[in-house]
């Protein structure tokens, strides 16, 4: 198993009260090259879970293992190596890029900081990465505000891929984008996953998105997993009432028009 999340809880301190548990006793595994989806409404703890896996939050209890090693115990170089292996793309595509850096500067920075390539090979690697995510080379000199949301998301995917990760956590990667762009970004993620044998941990409230990409899913409600299984199984034969209501909440234009 690539990533093992074992009975993880995430708590936020509450002034003068008991801590608030955003995530309670969650367990799941993600295998190498697999895509795993977490579905749930906003506020159910999806993002807290992602932050805990990224090491941005300390879990209150439970263990997160990456390739059998506990993440919270990693220090120095080992933690930096973990950063290379696990990357994240964010919902706010434009906001996740530094407004004062051009695309070229951010790509060069990430390659230099992690010494992914010798100095002479950096330019060609940047060009290679842009091609991989389907961006033209003339975006290199652009600042994030000069790019569209979809292009910014492609840049941040390219920036992740620069580190040659094994697992990408995608936290609502398309929900801030236009519907037409959403499909293209999702196709990109899926093709990259197959091409590079990436594992993807996709977090979304949108069942269609998850179904599109994921092999297995779990449904979260108020910090707990209430249902999990293969994507098709959960989508087509939901066992829990909450999952049914989530599925029923997907806007269906045909039904809305009374057809």
């Amino acid at each position: 198993m690539l990533l093992q999340v074992q009975q993880v809880s995430v708590a936020y301190p509450v002034r003068g009260g008991r801590p608030f548990f955003a995530v309670r006793d969650i367990t799941f595994n993600v295998g190498a090259g697999e895509s795993f989806g977490i579905v749930g409404e906003s506020g159910c703890g999806k993002t807290s879970l992602a932050k805990a896996v990224m090491g941005l939050l300390q879990p209150a209890s439970g263990r997160i293992l990456f390739e059998g090693q506990e993440v919270s115990g990693l220090k120095g170089e080992a933690f930096k190596a973990y950063r290379r292996s696990v990357q994240m793309i964010f919902q706010d595509a434009v906001g996740s890029l530094n407004p004062r850096q051009t695309v070229l500067q951010m790509m060069e920075e990430v390659l230099r900081v992690h010494r992914m390539r010798p100095e002479g090979a950096i330019q060609s690697r940047v060009a290679e990465l842009l091609e991989l995510v389907g961006l033209p080379s003339d975006v290199l000199q652009a600042y994030p505000r000069e790019l569209s949301g979809g292009q910014c998301q492609r840049v941040s995917i390219a920036r992740c891929l620069a580190l040659e990760p094994r697992l990408i956590i995608a936290d609502e990667p398309v929900s801030a984008l236009d519907v037409s762009v959403q499909a293209r970004i999702l196709n990109l993620i899926r093709s990259l996953q197959q091409e590079l044998n990436l594992a993807v941990l996709l977090i979304s409230h949108d069942l269609a998105v998850v179904r599109n990409i994921c092999d297995r899913v779990c449904v979260m409600y108020q910090g707990e997993v209430i249902e999990h299984g293969s994507a098709i199984e959960v989508m087509d034969q939901p066992r829990e009432a909450y999952t049914k209501s989530l599925l029923a909440a997907v806007p269906d234009v045909g039904r809305a028009l009374g057809k």
Binding site: L56, R83, F90, N98, R100
Partner: protein
Amino acid sequence: MKIPSTILARLWKRWDTRLSLVIVVFYAVAALYGEGTYQAARWQDQTPAYNQVHENHRYIPPAFVRCFLGDTGAVDRPFYLFGSDNLGRDVGQRLIQGTRIAFHVGIVTSLIAIPLGVLLGCLGGYFGGRCDNVVVWLCATVASMPGLLFILAIAMVAGKGLMGIYLGIGLTTWVSVCRNVRAEVMKHRGRTYVLAAEVLGYSHPRIMFRHILPNVSHIILIAFSIRFPASVATEVFISFLGIGVQSEPSWGIMINNARLRLWQGVWWEMTFVTLAIFFLVLAFNHLADALRDLLDPALRNE
């Protein structure tokens, strides 16, 4: 960076900010000229022109006043554009020297206060928690002391002269810079691009200084344009009290000097020094206002 050139262009477009820019450049040139004459006199080991005493040229009114009154001038009464003072020294030359000292004080105190304020503000705003508590405590402590007394105390310890003024003003005025930078860094701390930089495995100093600081640099520019005239005004006051510059004609010393004979009708020294301070501070403050208006919304749009 392409921001400064566009900002300069936008400042140039409006007549009032253009005038302020011209005034500031004019003062800067005067200060440079003053530095030149000061260094030249030191190098040649001569008494510089602005310190030359002419016993028989005392209290000569400004040239244009004499022209107006029909005074054609005599060999022993040369024309001085801004008149001469109680020792027969050229007020115009001394004004230029005063500009030199004003710029020294404005620049050196900013060089002390701004890096200090920016560093502490970045640390407090970025790390938060205990680190932030220390920064806030420091700010509150320094701010709670009466500013001028604190400056006087530091100037006394450092000894009379410019060094005391530099340290005194520099070590008390970083507080406002620090508070502004801290608040702005805190705002950026939660932004997604900072989170992304953390996830990419960048070190804290890199995130702080390479990612956040360029995004709050407008605060530093504004801080400089506010601090500069404030420092000049403080220097004038301290020198007036006799703690500041020695044997160099600072504006404060000139005002102190001019005050003695003001009631005997020697109005020119006081008037011109006051006008010089007035226009410098006005131009800088106006630029500071315009910069704040220009930079803040420009960054919000990004």
